[in-house]
Amino acid sequence: MRSKKKFKDFCIFGLPGIFFFAAVVIVPFVYGIYLTFTNWNGVSASKDFTGLSNFAGVFSDSAFWQSLLLTFKYVILVVILVNVIAFLLAYLLTRGIRGQNFFRAGFFTPNLIGGIVLGYIWQFVFSRVFVSIGDFTGFGLFKVSWLSDPNKAFLALVLVSVWQLTGYMILIYVAGFTGMNEDVLEAADIDGATGFQKLKNIIIPMMMPSITICLFLTLSRAFMVYDVNLSLTAGAPYGTTEMAAMHVYEKAFTSRLYGVGQAEALILFIIVACVSGLQVYLTKRKEVEA
């Protein structure tokens, strides 16, 4: 009788969710893997099985590996900068400073703007506003558009992403700081612990759940960056800022090599899943309870 009720509850509450999850995630994912073994051109009625030839195409596509390397550089910079800045700002914004709610909202605002819009706004800033400032002041750094130099364009991408993501991470860190047991810190003060000792031995270990979430979110978002990449640089100048996700799209839809593009997407997924999984495993182990 009880198991019958359980089954009924599962059908009411679990089954619809599973059905939709399978329909929009599992089935397309499995179908996507199947497509990596075919020569489908995206529209044809026929699909021929081509074995591992698409994966061979991935290994001979040097531009993909270059974009992946660039993505790794981008991820490292973005993950470190976002988390360090967000952590510090969240710490400051939970110390009871005047107007801290306003600042929290202010820092979060960029996250409300979609990546495409954000990219266009900053494209205008980098290629028009900064150049005008450079012309007016003679300041060499802004004389030419940042987006026409490979290194500066990459830096621009990192800056905009950090600006966008930091606000969201601040919220999570603020929640972590707010829930932290102040008694432990007070006890440490009484015992004469220095600021650095408190940070290293108390604050960071107690903030590990927030750090786990923030690192996971920034890692996955940075690896899969596409919208800001598209609207801010579109890979320019001459393809030097084309990240892996954008390369996959270009391979599939511009070069019309759907099989190779799909295989590259699968490889990118495996890399992101491994890195994120490893990160969650490692940081979870460091979590403690007060």
């Binding site: 306003f102 909202a105 703007i113 706004i121 150049v131 100048p237 270009e250 019309r256």
Partner: protein, 461 residues
């Protein structure tokens, strides 16, 4: 106290909403960094169409049929919708025009096919038609209009699958007034017959005070999609010749060092670079500013096509102003056709779906194409409302804007060559990057040649 708390809590939210709203509303402004010419531009200045004389015979059995058309030429979206409305009123066929939006035409059309709702008619590029022709497109070889635009009809395996919607031409756009004001004398564009003549004119303009007479766009589609394409299209000035040279590049039977057109093309490109208004930061060049500079007379030349008119118009150019095209000068031989003719060929093509469309829908779509070609109203709307240069010679209407008018006149004077290279879909992107490097001075001629050869060698596989 509780009110104060409420305000204290709500204020940041309101502020962030206000800031966000401000940012979003800012996005509605024209920042002027549109990097392609597909900007809707004909909401204003609606053409007056005379619908009183219409002797086109409509098929009454098709009344009530609903068809759709995918439009990849964004600047004529409004005009096409109006055209669809008028066609609907006269024929009883409902025609809905679907814009491509942010997708590429090909991505959009295959998405529509994959979702089982393809458009009955689709305005696409040549490469897309080639990709879809055998499996999805209705064969149109025996349509009556084929004879009206025979020189512009594209066939694959001797079968016609698309209607050439428009002729588009490109070359070096000049602003006659800017040149005359600077030099203080009358400018005759026909007096230039070679790159040497063009260089001499640029030097005179510079000496007379116009510091940088050239606007040079940095977009991939302009550099590789339009400038580099001359490498293939000027092989012998025909589409077959272009196909021949791309085939030879693929199989390695031609070397760029032995192919004169390569150096000739880059000689002109180097000249344009040298006098470029954005030469200090060529990759920072802004497309809309190029149009403004030309319209304002800050520059006298801009390599582009007749599709640039909406941008020039927006920049302040008037339909009565004297703009026109110079050839893309190749070398110093005055008898070389490239120094007297400009490239003009059918770009956008219309195909009809044969996979999902019912027989009635296919018939209604064919009626629409016939209506464009043969009805007085359709002919007028194609030219006057859409600002299109028609591919069919039976259309008596002349385009109104100076760029299209110049190409139209040149077509009728025999001063154009019809060569359209069908290149892989990523040609503009991959070789556009290589051309950008060359434009920025970060690669040599040899490196550019090597990139081009490598690209074509990869196409062999």
């Amino acid at each position: 106290m509780s009110n104060y708390r409420c305000v204290k809590k709500g204020l940041p939210l309101l502020l962030s909403l206000a800031v966000t709203a401000g940012l979003f509303s800012g996005c509605g402004l024209r920042f002027g960094f549109a990097s392609d010419p597909d900007v809707p531009g004909n909401e204003e200045g609606k053409a007056v169409i005379d619908t009183s004389k219409d002797d086109f015979i409509y098929d009454d059995s098709l009344r009530g049929t609903k068809i759709t058309m995918l439009n990849s030429k964004a600047e004529i979206q409004v005009a096409l919708e109006e055209m669809g409305r008028v066609f609907g009123e006269l024929s009883g066929v409902s025609l809905e025009v679907i814009p491509c939006g942010d997708d590429t035409p090909y991505t959009k059309v295959i998405n529509m096919y994959n979702s089982g709702t393809p458009p009955t008619l689709a305005i696409l590029d040549l490469t897309d038609i080639e990709a879809l022709s055998s499996e999805k497109a209705l064969e149109l070889t025996n349509e009556e209009w084929v004879k009206e635009c025979s020189e512009y009809v594209m066939d694959f395996d001797s079968k016609v699958y698309s209607f050439p919607l428009c002729i588009e031409g490109r070359g070096i756009i000049y602003n006659k007034k800017a040149i005359e004001d600077t030099l203080g004398e009358t400018f005759d564009p026909d007096s230039l017959h070679s790159l040497d003549d063009f260089r001499a004119l640029l030097e005179r303009l510079t000496a007379a005070g116009m510091e940088t007479p050239v606007s040079l766009s940095m977009e991939n589609w302009s550099l590789a999609g339009h400038q580099l394409q001359y490498l293939y299209e000027t092989y012998d000035g025909t589409s077959d010749g272009a196909a021949q040279v791309t085939s030879m590049l693929s199989d390695g039977s031609i070397s760029l060092s032995d192919y004169d057109r390569f150096d000739q093309l880059l000689d002109l490109f180097d000249t344009l670079k040298e006098y470029n208004v954005a030469r200090l930061d060529p990759l920072g060049a802004d497309y809309d500013e190029m149009a403004i500079d030309l319209a304002d007379g800050k520059t006298a030349f801009w390599f582009n096509g007749n599709w640039a008119w909406p941008n020039l118009k927006e920049a302040g150019a008037d339909a009565e102003d004297e703009y026109g095209f110079l050839p893309y000068f190749m070398g110093s031989d005055e008898n070389d056709y490239t120094n007297t003719k400009i490239q003009a060929s059918p770009s956008k093509q219309v195909m009809i779906d044969k996979q999902y469309a019912t027989e009635d829908q296919q018939a209604a779509a064919r009626e629409f194409l016939n209506w464009i070609v043969y009805s007085n109203v359709g002919q007028q709307m194609l030219v006057d409302s859409c600002d299109i240069i028609p591919a069919c010679r039976n259309n008596p209407n002349e385009p109104a804007d100076p760029l299209s008018r110049d190409i139209y006149n040149k077509i009728h004077e025999g001063l154009t060559f019809n060569a359209a290279a069908i290149v892989p879909s990523d040609h503009w992107k991959v070789l556009g990057d290589a051309m950008q490097m060359y434009l920025a001075g970060r690669s040599s001629r040899e490196e550019l040649a090597s990139s081009i050869l490598q690209y074509w060698a990869e196409q062999k596989n």
